[in-house]
């Protein structure tokens, strides 16, 4: 089944070899198309094969796709159906979104193209050369164009092929948009470096049949962070010193003595009750108690409350700064520059 293209190439190779370097692929394609329209199919095949060989190394896929389209049509009319289908499959791999102009080509050509397209799962990707977006927003968008309905998987990978983030896994029809927020699968912001956007077209068995790789040069902007507030140092003393205890002792003894003794001087000729001694003793004992307990440091509730308030405000400040820094870090701007796509086709192209 593969003898058709080989025969075609074998027949055309001598004619192609000599003038390859001297001819312009644009004029070769134009000549091929003109010969096709004049029904000079052998001549058209010669022009288009040579043009295709010259265009293989050029990034311009539009002209090569046009050359392949006309070459496949020529092969159909030359009776080389297998060769035509091979050319069409190459065309689909080259430009998965390519659709044949049904006003230009008759049904016997378009039907072969459609059959080849259905048999060739492939995906093309359209990405901007450079994208800037804050991490966390779906700022990087890839438009995928499928040749036919099939299963695909879209990943961001490191150079060692480890998956950073799976962006999509499922079917694709004509087209599909896939977005990325610049974060890893764990939700962390991507780090600066070289990555790949990998679009794998899967066979019905689930194995990658064709892999499209787009290089991504990713730079994550460094962000200015807020300083974390220092722990407050101007806190109020939370323990009262023992110096007040002498006031308790002296005050208690003095007031107790006055309470017990002064009434005798006030009413020297009266027979006073012993209540004055009881009250005076109670005051003096209370002074001694205050002295003993007061020698131990006493907590100062109002200062403790004020310090708690200060510490709470400090902790809130630390938490707010940390949250703001995390927000800035997570949403730092990400710049992605894309390179030319590369295709790894398991069937060869």
């Amino acid at each position: 089944m593969r003898r058709g293209p080989l025969l075609l190439l074998a027949a055309l190779l001598p004619a192609v070899a000599a003038p390859l370097g001297a001819q312009d692929p644009d004029s070769l394609v134009a000549s091929g198309v003109s010969a096709y329209r004049n029904l000079e199919f052998d001549d058209a095949a010669g022009f288009l094969v040579r043009a295709n060989a010259l265009l293989a190394s050029r990034p311009d896929t539009a002209l090569r796709a046009r050359a392949l389209m006309y070459l496949a049509a020529v092969e159909i009319y030359r009776g080389h159906g297998d060769s035509a289908q091979t050319v069409f499959r190459n065309l689909v791999r080259l430009a998965p979104g390519y659709r044949v102009d049904r006003l230009v080509f008759p049904p016997e050509v378009t039907s072969v193209f459609d059959a080849a397209r259905r048999m060739t799962p492939a995906v093309g990707a359209t990405v901007l050369p450079e994208t800037r977006f804050p991490a966390g927003t779906d700022g990087f968008t890839t438009r995928l164009i499928g040749s036919t309905f099939h299963q695909i998987r879209v990943d961001v990978q490191r150079p060692d092929a480890s998956v950073v983030r799976n962006l999509y896994a499922g079917p694709i029809g004509d087209s599909l948009s896939v977005s990325w927020d610049g974060r890893t699968g764990a939700g962390l912001p991507i780090t600066t470096g070289r990555y790949w956007l990998v679009v794998s077209s899967l066979s019905p068995a689930g194995a990658p049949a064709r892999v499209l790789r787009v290089p991504l040069d990713i730079v994550r902007q460094e962000v200015d962070t807020l300083p974390i507030p220092l722990e407050p140092r101007d806190l109020l003393p939370e323990q009262r010193a023992a110096r007040g205890s002498w006031e308790s002792l002296v005050g208690g003894l003095l007031l107790g003595a006055v309470t017990a003794g002064a009434p005798s001087a006030l009413a020297s000729d009266a027979s006073l009750s012993s209540g004055r001694f009881a009250a005076g003793t109670a005051i003096a004992v209370a002074g001694v108690v205050g002295f003993v307990i007061g020698r131990a440091e006493q907590p100062i509730p109002e200062n403790i409350a004020a310090n708690d308030s200060t510490r709470t405000a400090w902790r809130a400040g630390v938490a707010a700064a940390a949250a703001e820094n995390e927000r800035r870090r997570v949403t730092a701007e990400v710049r992605i520059r894309t390179g030319p796509p590369q295709v790894i086709d398991q069937e060869g192209s």
Binding site: G244, E247, S248, G251, G252, L254, L255, G256, V258, T259, A260, A262, P263, L266, A267, D269, A270, S271, L272, S273, G275, R276, A278, A279, G280, A282, I283, A286, G287, V289, G290, I293, G294, Q298, P301
Partner: protein, 211 residues
């Protein structure tokens, strides 16, 4: 004026003032009262009894109004005479510094016995000094006063009047409850010293305070 009517009037007067006060206290308590009278005619006579009292203090800024009512049935120690003692005070205090207060006001006392009622109206100037023994739980104070004017339905004119009170304040943590233990003695001399009257009270009161 009858004691019960005095009490009602005192409470009625206190309530609106308490409502307006920035800080205040209301306490009720019991006290052991003792009155000793020395006169050339009757010699020395003493009366004792346990009575009931109510007191309040209402402060606005540095000024405090202190009121007190006390009533106690007294029994003579040697004979069977019975006397009902009723006291009331309304004193205005100013506290220029934390541990010193000065004040003054009327102090009314009445003895009601079978033969009639003997009423005293004493105008007093007072000073009080205090100390915190264990803030905010314990505090002590001593209060002294002198009588600067008096009117009484007794025969002898008042020569001098002095008094002293010592007390211990007890607070229950930061709760609004407090207690007060006090001893007070008042000495009145009349008729060039021929009649001397000493009034003692030892009591305890408990109540609430607010700020």
């Amino acid at each position: 004026m009858k004691p019960t009517r005095t009490l009602v009037l005192l409470i009625a007067w206190c309530l609106p003032h308490a409502a307006m006060a920035q800080s205040g206290a209301l306490r009720v308590g019991v006290a052991n009262a003792r009155v000793e009278r020395i006169s050339p005619v009757d010699g020395t006579r003493s009366f004792t009894g346990v009575g009931f009292g109510i007191e309040g203090a209402f402060g606005i800024g540095p000024a405090t109004l202190g009121v007190r009512y006390f009533e106690s049935p007294l029994t003579a120690d040697e004979v069977t005479d019975e006397v009902n003692l009723v006291e009331g005070e309304a004193l205005l205090w100013v506290t220029p510094v934390r541990w010193v207060s000065v004040g003054g006001g009327p102090h009314i006392r009445a003895y009601t016995e079978a033969g009639g009622t003997e009423r005293w109206v004493l105008w007093e100037l007072r000073a009080r000094g205090g100390a915190d023994l264990l803030r905010p739980f314990l505090g002590a104070y001593v209060e002294g006063w002198m009588t600067v004017g008096a009117s009484a339905d007794v025969a002898e004119p008042l020569d001098a009047g002095r008094g002293l009170e010592g007390g211990l304040r007890i607070a229950v943590g930061r709760l609004p409850f407090s207690a007060r233990l006090r001893y007070r003695v008042e000495r009145l001399e009349l008729g060039d010293g021929v009649r001397r009257e000493t009034v003692e009270q030892v009591g305890i009161a408990i109540g609430i305070g607010w700020r």
